[in-house]
């Protein structure tokens, strides 16, 4: 165990990994800061690089970007009152009034510190929980795995969609797409229409680039114009390092945010925005001066900031141990690992424990670099908010093409990307969430394979899913999530009338 930990630490602390983490962190902060850019877009930009880099370096780069992106989103929220990422929306409530009061440095400094503590707490939870959860997951058989994947999908549908029908439809569309190509058990060609390109199926990274990047490029075009670049004039930040008085004030909100963020991060689909708003609400209720919230309370910055960064470590727990990504970013991480022949899941901790622990240590480093880079380079980084989109967006469009093409050196994949871009736009118009579709693309083959293996083993007897306690638990939770989604959807509809 000690030797494995040392190997993992060595992998994460190798100069190339450290450099990649630092570069990822800088890129993440920049991408997160620019309104209209998401962490997913940032990851899509560097995706082609990860195909050629060593897996440990690739994952270090992506983790740096993931963690940095969360923090960068808050800088834009604080400075411009425009959240760079959805998770940073709660930070703007109190962060921007602090800027208006001339306390930009204080708000940013508290955000950086709270993010660091939230991220570090979730990294510690990841380190402690992941290996144990992987041990338990090793005992799962095909019926348990099927029920678990089904649970992951239904939970995501419940969280991601306003309408349960549209959430489930989105997931089913994803499953239909994943059924294209050779079937995972017998290798029979399905829905390929004789095309060799379709035989290996649709690569979900290609789909992801189309689903996320193209609608975003079109979105930004709608807002384009000669003044498309934002102007921010932070003439004076003041003190960046939080004072002891501030540290004392944010102790409880940061603790709340860290726990809530990590817990919600572990749940597939819950994500940063829910964690940030929930922590904000809890922190306000726990405060002795709740009336200051919304008017530039430093606790109102600390709670959501620690929460949205704690989500990152939490989201890595199901991804690393069960192979179930909880959001688009962890889905990309799964894809990046699969390209290198490393399948996230309990077996990763058995077959490549050095790599699994290396990922966890890289996540620790990502949080440390985030703190250093944000505090040291914040004055310069904030100026990047004004980067002109007129150049940035076309460059991203070309990088999307490079990313899709370089997966298999295939022009066909570029057309697939465009198809998914149009599908993403269509789904947006129909108010259908794309996240369940994406997650179905990631998990679909696993779902089918385990379903068929379980039924083959039981000679078609479906009671096999109700004999294992794990399977029963997962199926019950899946049913609860669907019922909860239906009830909340009806309540929202009644409320809207």
């Amino acid at each position: 165990m000690g030797e494995v930990l040392l190997q993992g630490f060595g992998q994460a602390a190798a100069p190339s990994s450290l450099l990649a983490t630092a570069i990822g962190s800088v890129l993440g902060i920049v991408v997160g800061m620019i309104p209209g850019m998401t962490i997913s877009t940032g990851i899509i930009i560097v995706l082609p690089l990860t195909f050629v880099l060593d897996p440990s370096v690739s994952i270090a780069l992506l983790l740096g970007l993931y963690v940095g992106g969360m923090l960068g989103g808050s800088f834009a929220a604080i400075m411009l009152n425009i959240p760079g990422t959805p998770s940073a929306a709660a930070t703007a409530i109190d962060g921007h009034p602090m800027v208006a009061r001339g306390e930009a440095g204080r708000a940013l400094g508290v955000a950086v510190l709270a993010s660091f503590i939230g991220g570090l707490f979730s990294a510690l939870c990841l380190f402690l929980i992941a290996p144990r959860l992987a041990d338990i997951a090793l005992g799962f058989r095909a019926p348990d795995l099927f029920s678990l994947v089904l649970l992951g999908l239904t939970v995501i549908c419940s969280f991601a969609a306003k309408s349960w029908i549209k959430g489930l439809l989105s997931a089913l569309i994803g499953l239909a797409i994943v059924s294209i190509g050779q079937d995972p058990v017998m290798g029979t060609a399905r829905f390929t229409f004789g095309s060799a390109d379709l035989l290996s199926g649709i690569n979900f990274l290609t789909a992801l680039i189309g689903l996320f990047a193209i609608p975003q490029l079109i979105d930004n075009l709608g807002r384009a114009g000669p003044d498309a670049h934002m102007s921010v004039a932070p003439t004076s930040f003041g003190r960046l390092i939080p004072t002891w008085a501030d540290i004392r004030r944010i102790r409880v909100p940061v603790a709340i945010g860290s726990v809530v963020g990590t817990f919600l991060g572990i749940l597939p689909g819950a994500g940063g925005p829910i964690a940030a708003f929930l922590s904000y609400d809890y922190a306000r209720k726990a405060s002795k001066e709740p009336e200051t919230f919304g008017h530039g309370a430093v606790e109102g910055v600390a709670a959501p900031e620690s929460a949205n960064n704690a989500v990152t470590g939490g989201a890595l727990v199901p991804m690393m141990t069960l192979g179930i990504p909880g959001d688009p970013v962890t889905a990309i991480l799964v894809g990046a690992l699969l390209i290198h022949g490393l399948a996230p899941g309990p077996l990763l901790f058995i077959e490549r424990p050095d790599f699994a622990y290396g990922v966890i240590f890289s996540f620790f480093w990502a949080n440390i670099f985030n703190l250093i880079i944000a505090l040291a380079g914040l004055r310069m980084l904030v100026k990047l908010i004004a980067m002109p989109k007129t150049i940035l967006m076309p460059a991203i469009a070309i990088l999307c093409v490079v990313g899709a093409y370089s997966l298999r050196n295939s022009v066909f994949d570029i057309y697939v990307m465009l198809f998914f871009g149009l599908l993403g736009l269509g789904m947006r118009w129909l108010e259908m969430p794309v996240v369940p579709l994406l997650l179905a693309l990631v998990l679909g083959r696993q779902l089918e394979e385990n379903l068929r293996v379980a039924l083959t083993g039981s000679q078609g007897d479906i009671s096999v899913f109700f004999t294992s306690p794990f399977s029963v638990l997962f199926l019950s939770l899946a049913a609860v999530s669907v019922v909860w989604s239906i009830v909340s959807s009806r309540r929202s509809a009644k409320g809207a009338r």
């Binding site: 549209k166 058990v185 029979t188 003044d227 083959t456």
Partner: protein
């Protein structure tokens, strides 16, 4: 919102029926009492048909979803950009990455509202060339070089 549900219901119902039709034609190679290659697609086709029909019925009954309908996600400039993008992708294998990307980048930069023509030209040449050099020679990635190279 109800109109969009009707459109979505109709489109998805047609797609799910087409998917079901294609599923019928899949070879049945399963062992007795075990699911074959068509088993999972049948489940998907059934679920898609049921849910899209439900969505259609909700739309026809005028049941509104929560909140206001989202505005159209594509502006007229967006449609133009999508058209340019499609043409770019069609020409990419023939013209090659650099040659096709230069005009594409320039048009997109103008669509995004850049008014400095010199900057448009400079970046339209510099960015694709830089990306080609970095990926081709730095990372040994084979980007399309065009039919004449």
């Amino acid at each position: 919102m109800a109109r969009r549900n009707i459109i979505a219901g109709c489109v998805l119902l047609i797609c799910s029926l087409a998917y079901g039709f294609l599923t019928i034609q899949l070879p049945d190679r399963g062992l007795p009492n075990t699911p074959g290659p068509a088993f999972f697609p049948w489940l998907i086709a059934g679920g898609l048909t049921l849910l899209s029909a439900t969505l259609l019925v909700k739309g026809l009954r005028g049941v509104h979803g929560p909140g206001q309908a989202a505005p159209s996600p594509v502006s007229s400039r967006g449609w133009l950009a999508l058209g340019v993008f499609a043409v770019y992708l069609l020409l990419l294998p023939t013209l090659g990455f650099v040659t096709a990307s230069i005009p594409f980048f320039a048009v997109l930069t103008l669509l995004y509202g850049q008014q400095n023509r010199l900057l448009v030209v400079l970046t339209a040449v510099a960015v694709p060339v830089l990306l080609f050099v970095v990926f081709r020679y730095g990372f040994q990635m084979l980007l399309p070089r065009g039919v004449w190279l």
